[in-house]
């Protein structure tokens, strides 16, 4: 019977016969990941960044199957070598960060990696701001945009009313529909209306507040 190493070697060779963008190559990748994960044969260690290093290893190796040389190692050894390399660089990064915390100034790392520092400074304050600002906007509806956006021809069933029913407590859609005596067809369409008409308004609000791009939030917090 073929052992797992032979099977994996064959799968990689087979995958390489298909172009990188093809469905067929990616379906072989599915098989490779499944087999390796279930075999439990991959290098394992108990570190908090192990899963991150493994994700990077999958991304790299699945994108560079042609680099695998069956003459030199088994597929699992090839992956293990990459994984250990990634683990080393995660370890170094964690070590650097630790050093920075001990000696907060005068290290080169302070200047080379400013983003990491800002992320570490993330605190609870902007979090409350998002929640408060959004609920305030929904309650006040300053441009009457929310109460003017109505479901079908029912002025009672508008975006503002629906928002208030769905947050903070998530009133079930069927309850909302029966409160407004909607027909079964309307009941079915109500969440669709919410998705297509109400959520885009919130989306726009969120974007206008600059919440979306995490990079933007970081720059704001730096100043």
């Amino acid at each position: 019977m073929d052992n797992i190493h032979t099977q994996l070697r064959q799968l990689v060779a087979e995958a390489c016969t298909y172009p990188p963008e093809s469905v067929e190559r990616r379906q072989r990748l599915n098989q490779i990941i499944r087999k390796i994960m279930r075999s439990g044969k991959l290098w394992r260690e108990k570190t908090e960044y192990y899963n991150d290093a493994l994700q990077e290893t999958w991304e790299y190796c699945c994108g560079h199957l042609e680099e695998y040389d069956p003459e030199r190692a088994s597929v699992i050894t090839w992956l293990d070598n990459h994984l250990k390399k990634r683990l080393r660089s995660w370890r170094d990064r964690a070590y650097r960060q630790l050093n920075r915390q001990i000696t907060p100034s005068n290290t080169e790392a302070n200047f080379t990696d400013p983003i990491e520092r800002v992320v570490a400074e993330f605190d609870i304050q902007p979090v409350l701001e998002i929640w408060e600002k959004t609920t305030e906007w929904v309650n006040k509806d300053p441009d009457h945009l929310l109460c003017k956006t109505c479901f079908r021809n029912c002025p009672d069933v508008n975006c503002q009313v629906l928002f208030l029913r769905r947050f903070p407590s998530e009133t079930p859609w069927n309850d909302i529909a029966s409160d407004f005596d909607l027909t079964p067809a309307e009941t079915k369409d109500l969440p669709k209306f919410y998705n297509r008409k109400c959520l885009p308004l919130l989306r726009e609000f969120g974007t206008s507040q600059g919440y979306i791009d995490p990079a933007k939030t970081r720059t704001k917090r730096k100043s």
Binding site: R26, M37, R38, N51, R152, P168, Y194, R196, L202
Partner: protein, 396 residues
Amino acid sequence: MISQFMQTLDDFSIPLFIPSQAKSLAEQFAAQQPTPQKATQVYLNTLAVCIVNNYLRIMGIPTNLTTGDSWNPSVRLYADVADLEVVGRGRLECRPIQVPEDLNSTACSVPGEVQSDRIGYVIVELDLEQELATLLGFVETANDSISLRQLRSPDELLEHLLSSPQAETVPTSVNLRQWLQNTVTTGWETVETLLSPAEPSFAVRGGETAVIENPDSVASVIRLLDPDQSEEVRAQAAGDLGYMGVSNSTTINALTELLATAEDEETRWQAALSLGKLDPNHPQAGIRRVRAINLTSKPNSEQVALMVAIMPKANDRIGVWLQVEPLGSLTVLPGGLALRVLSMSGETRLQVEARSDRQGSGLDRTIGRRFSPPPETGFQVQLQFGSTIVTEDFLA
């Protein structure tokens, strides 16, 4: 321990570990929620989105993690949403189920607000204790719950995401109302781009043609809008005003007044579309777009243009005008070419077919229909010629 657990997995599911980066993002998003229930929901949703994103990264399929509603802190509060944009395809919903909590359940519930506008639903089983996430499979459409027995494999998910050519698949309905805000769906072109600009192609044809003594003179065309002119003349003049392209208060006022007073449908359409050309942001402005449709799958197939025009109407409704025109070497529409409007459930609501003479030559230069669907209604427009059927979904 872990390999033991994995042996119990279905044959096709894909196991992946949950990276610490995904966990800290999920914690961060969950911390923005006011109640423990909502926090748990956001935590699990964020993990599911991150895991599917990680999987697609491994597969080399481009995604836009930060453009989804699941990444928008405001939307996240008001919707139970776990969407991930797959570039060029649409939004994939990533629904989490938790072990051991949901271990014996055979279905995954789907919130109402995410049951529309998705290209598929991927179910991710999360085992937080083992830090293990398993892609169980997917379905293309969902109701209130997805039975785990009906899941299709990740291999099929890849086919679903990759094999159909992007140009032919419009993942969601064309939202016509957005056209009125000048956000036109990709693939729909202006009449001038597709048809030769010299030809006022969609202006009224047949019947009496107005004689304009001095075609450059806007004032003389405006005079033809008078109520004492015949409706054909008024409609033609309204259309010509748009083609002449002179946008000032005189022309805008003339068209607005025409819209307020004229009762003839054709005149009103021409006025609204001309207004759209001269002042696209006018609240009464109409808009018209066309798309070329191949009549056969052969490389040099004959083509027709499908025109879709819309104009604002009372009670939040929009008027829709569909018309088919010959393109390229065609001068008339081939006999038998059918234009249909269907409900989303597939019932034919309107239908018109191009006629032909005894020799089989086409008799109609255009076919078309006008209607005014209630707001929020979806409908399908279908063009059929022999075995070729082209269907487009629209949302009014």
